[in-house]
């Protein structure tokens, strides 16, 4: 029903824009990762694998990459542990207050990312809320200084930020479960635990996968929370990339690390998409 002209008019402008402002830049990053920097600080356009060699040989790079993945994995696990039971409670037990509670989960998303990270800094700092509260209650004499400027602070803050993101797809998946399946399971004599593990949980797996991927990928690439709350031990891979693009001025190496990150992220997305297809019944 739509003419060729119509299709061309709706296709061409976004196609051109996306090619120039997304495809070309990603391609450029790919190219940069094979170039190098001369001693006089100019980019040499000769193709080689030196950046990737350096990435593998220098322990600091892949160790930081592994540490970032470990931080992201913890954020993912904690977000799931907080988000899943919450979604389950809202979907199956909240009754009339369901919509209100749903809104309450969304609202923190509207508070600036930066501001929430900063609020955790006021809470965890040595003269912050938590430490003064502990001293006030005579639970400790000296402020606990391991709270701030540590991987712990980064994991806590990122978990706080990504829990609602993890909650959303899980809640959507739970809401889509036909309630008569649950009733059937009960009528046929399954215990509540059996009903949960054999009916509800398997049907919610696509939501869990989407939420988990979201939490992992977005925290893997974060560089602001580590800068603000991480301290030297909380440095993540993106912080190294930022410094390579800034003061250290080695764009090609920075591009190579970014590309490594991109490969991890995209393969994870593809993997979770495959799993999701396997687990979705509809």
């Amino acid at each position: 029903m739509f003419s060729r002209a119509y299709k061309t008019v709706v296709t061409l402008p976004p196609l051109v824009w996306v090619t120039v402002f997304l495809f070309l830049p990603y391609l450029l990053m790919f190219c940069y990762s094979f170039w190098s920097v001369s001693p006089s600080q100019t980019i040499v356009h000769s193709w080689n694998l030196d950046n990737y060699k350096e990435l593998i040989q220098k322990t600091v790079y892949w160790q930081t990459l592994l540490r970032s993945m470990w931080i992201a994995a913890r954020v993912m696990i904690f977000s799931l542990l907080l988000g899943y039971p919450l979604a389950y409670f809202l979907s199956f037990y909240a009754g009339k207050r369901k919509d209100l509670l749903y809104q309450l989960v969304i609202i923190p998303l509207w508070v600036s990312y930066l501001v929430r990270a900063y609020a955790w800094k006021t809470i965890l700092g040595s003269d912050g809320v938590f430490n003064t509260l502990l001293q006030y209650a005579h639970l400790t004499k000296h402020p606990l200084d391991f709270l701030l400027y540590s991987p712990f602070a980064v994991v806590l803050t990122l978990t706080h930020i990504y829990t609602p993101f993890t909650f959303l797809p899980i809640y959507a998946a739970l809401e889509h479960i036909p309630r008569n399946l649950v009733e059937a399971s009960q009528d046929l004599g399954a215990t509540p635990a059996q009903t949960f593990w054999k009916v509800i949980f398997p049907l919610s797996i696509p939501g869990v996968l989407a939420g988990a991927t979201f939490a992992f990928v977005l925290s893997l690439g974060d560089f602001l929370a580590p800068l603000l709350l991480g301290g030297p031990s909380g440095i993540m891979i993106s912080n190294i990339v930022v410094s390579l693009f800034g003061a250290a001025y080695n764009w090609p190496l920075g591009a190579a690390i970014s590309l490594a990150m991109l490969v991890i992220v995209v393969s994870l997305l593809v993997f979770s998409e495959r799993l999701e297809k396997k687990w979705s019944f509809s």
Binding site: P14, P25, Y118
Partner: protein, 286 residues
């Protein structure tokens, strides 16, 4: 709800639902603790730390309202968000139409590419755009930030509008075309009004996401700061309750936006419901 009523669940389900309730309460406390702290300490005379808050004061707000660089950055952010929103809609809506209605070579790649910035860490999109602008010798400014936001947020416009298109009844568009309207007229008279809700929703979402965006802006910043980057710069220099004050103001502003949006949505939904009821009623009459 039915679960609570049905017999098997109430006996063994009660302690389970109670522990779920406790867990939910704990998660809500965790989600809201920083926000509560933020708001309370914006009134704290003692600065950012200490417990309990002492000497409640409005000084931080007074300082904030006299702080010209902050308000300049707010204006910059509003400009960026507005233009980015227009860019994202101008390309995101046709992209959704193309994905829904056209077949062209590379369509799967195009879909993935459009949606990629939504799930990719902002640093990757920001850096690759930085390389592009550097190569093209474009000086970094608010314009480059706007282009970055606009491009990254096409994904939001496309997903929202595409979801709306899936629910759209094509018969109306067909009728309009059969009755002699051209595509342009049909688009404005039928397609857009039917997609009003997803488009407004996308616009509001894009606007707020752009106002808060920092990872992409971080690499594309020129001389003028956006609000998040201005806040970032001050956080690096040390923390002051003035940041709490501006955050509280932004939070209140976002809350008003959400409430307005839901009002709008409720009204639209209830008018649809009313319309359906009238239609049912009409059928009965006939």
């Amino acid at each position: 709800m039915e679960l609570l009523v049905s017999g098997g669940m109430t006996t063994s389900g009660a302690p389970r639902s109670r522990s779920l309730l406790l867990h939910a309460a704990a998660v809500f406390a965790f989600l809201y603790l920083p926000i509560v702290v933020l708001v309370i300490y914006s009134f704290n005379g003692q600065g950012v730390g200490g417990f309990p808050p002492r000497n409640l004061t409005l000084d931080w707000y007074r300082i904030l309202f006299a702080d010209i660089p902050i308000w300049d950055s707010v204006l910059n952010s509003l400009q960026v968000a507005l233009v980015a929103m227009l860019i994202a809609l101008a390309f995101g809506i046709p992209a959704a139409l193309a994905l829904d209605r056209a077949q062209f070579p590379g369509k799967p790649l195009f879909r993935r590419l459009v949606l990629l910035p939504l799930i990719l860490p902002g640093i990757i999109t920001g850096l690759s755009l930085l390389m592009l602008f550097n190569l093209a010798n474009v000086k970094l400014s608010l314009l480059t930030i706007t282009l970055g936001h606009g491009t990254a947020l096409i994904s939001v416009a496309t997903t929202e509008v595409f979801a709306g298109l899936q629910k759209l009844d094509r018969a109306q568009e067909e009728a309009s075309l059969d009755l002699g309207a051209n595509y342009w007229q049909t688009f404005w008279a039928i397609t857009v009004p039917n997609l009003k809700l997803p488009i407004i929703g996308a616009a509001l979402l894009i606007f707020t996401l752009s106002m808060d965006e920092i990872a992409v802006s971080f690499f594309l910043i020129g001389r003028d700061n956006t609000l998040p980057l201005e806040i970032w710069g001050r956080l690096r220099r040390g923390i002051t309750p003035e940041i709490n004050a501006i955050s509280t103001v932004i939070f209140m502003f976002s809350m008003v936006t959400i409430v307005l949006w839901y009002r709008l949505r409720m009204r639209a939904e209830s008018s649809v419901a009313v319309g359906e009821e009238l239609a049912e009623h009409g059928k009965e009459q006939i």
